[in-house]
Subunit: 242 residues, 2 copies
DNA sequence: CACTCATGTTACCGCAAGTAACATGCGACG
DNA sequence: CGTCGCATGTTACTTGCGGTAACATGAGTG
């Protein structure tokens, strides 16, 4: 609590970039533009350095370590990203976007629904299998935000949603677009989107550390679950009332 | 790394209590017994104080704050719980056990399978709805363990599994016991256990902060998902290839 | 009484997040 | 040319937290 007031001076660069600054209001000295692109490039470089450190040292890497990797010192990081949460949020957005691109491709492949579901599951599992460090970083972002993001006013913070929510919304949208679910279908789609993503996540997390079966088998099992095999399975002999 | 060696002197009390120390080896002075029960009572008191603070200040409560709430100072906490992780693990075990009791009851109710599933979902959602603070604490335990627990040799650390895994295993066991899934059923049950728990968790998390519908509706939607309505739904008009 | 054992304290270390104040290189503009 | 704006960069500091060492006390036991 208290002491969370920034003085707003350097916020101009720390505010997660407005992202809508292509080429309007022509006229002013074009130096400012070049300077800005240079700043953005620097920001990317810093992000890549941070990425290296986080992937090497885990999510608890210190700001000092990241700054050292980038060949600079802490205050510069703070000027660019505001605080540690800002840096990590920026990192998470990069990786989340990358993962989402792959998933969208699988989600959009023109094959029967079951194959599409399997392809999506497999894409996700392959991703977390090949880069477990990235996965751990994305999935355990400590806690971050959840406080006072109203001042900037619009979409700041949404972008930083802990991946699972973004995935859930994305999937919900695809489901809502593709399936005819009757009245209340929007709501159903969203519930299912988040539910399926959670299923994928938890099962993947468990699978990743216990490796109880092949990826293909896991995909089949999960698809079977979504296809209602749980409801269809027979009771065991000698069970209780039902 | 390095410097993680304890000197083993106070470990006797910090080692997560052996928990198998009821009343064997009678004979030695019975004072030690009374002292031990007193110690355990103290430990419970400290846990309750910690609980109050964590529920009030969130999962980032400091050890100082917890000690103050208990009316003591830090070193005592460390004597009892070893480190902050130990304290939080003990807290998590308490709450997880409580939640699991409720879920087991729902899982064991002698009603048709669909009703049982719905009752379980509803129990979980009611729990996180009524005590969101507890829920947040349990679900976002930073990261904890994940390192070197082999020396003690048996179940230390298992008890501290981040709840989702415990729930998953629990559900897997119930599924494996109750359903006849043919060959490879064990594996299937575990996949499903973790998958379903993940579905419940992610959907619940999203529902808890967006409140897009009533709890009963959410339960229905999730049960529908598990009952294969996703596979059964019709395609939308004018969609792509499929 | 001496011993043990648990409780309790104060005072400290190390480290990480975050900040203040100062110094520098460069393009723009009079 | 000087100097202003602006971004980069630095050193040195504050604050707060996790964790520990060393010491003090009170109760029951031989």
């Amino acid at each position: 609590m208290e002491n969370t007031q920034h003085d707003g001076r350097q916020q101009a660069t720390a505010v997660e970039q407005p992202a809508a600054r292509h080429d309007a209001a022509a006229g002013p000295p074009h130096t400012v533009r070049r300077q800005q692109t240079a700043t953005e490039r620097r920001r990317r470089e810093l992000l890549e350095a941070a990425d290296r450190v986080v992937l090497r040292d885990g999510p608890d890497a210190s700001m000092n370590a990241i700054a050292a990797e980038a060949g600079i010192t802490k205050p510069i990081l703070y000027r660019h990203f505001g605080d540690k949460g800002g840096l990590y949020r920026a990192l998470a957005v990069r990786h989340t976007d990358a993962l989402l691109d792959g998933l969208r491709a699988a989600l959009d492949s023109p094959v029967p629904r079951r194959d599409r579901v399997e392809a999506t599951l497999d894409t996700y599992l392959t991703a977390i299998e090949m880069r477990p460090q990235v996965y751990r970083f994305l999935m355990h972002p400590s806690d971050e935000g959840q406080g006072a993001d109203k001042d900037t006013g619009f979409d700041v913070g949404r972008h930083s949603a802990p991946l699972l929510r973004r995935l859930g919304e994305e999937l919900a949208q695809v489901i809502g677009e593709r399936l005819d679910l009757g009245p209340g279908g929007e709501e159903l789609a969203r519930v299912w989107g988040h539910g399926i993503v959670g299923m994928m996540h938890a099962a993947g997390d468990w699978w990743l550390r216990e490796r109880p079966c092949s990826r293909a088998q896991l995909v089949q099992h999960l698809a079977d679950l979504l296809w209602g095999r749980l409801a269809a399975a027979g009771d065991r002999l000698g069970g209780p009332g039902f």
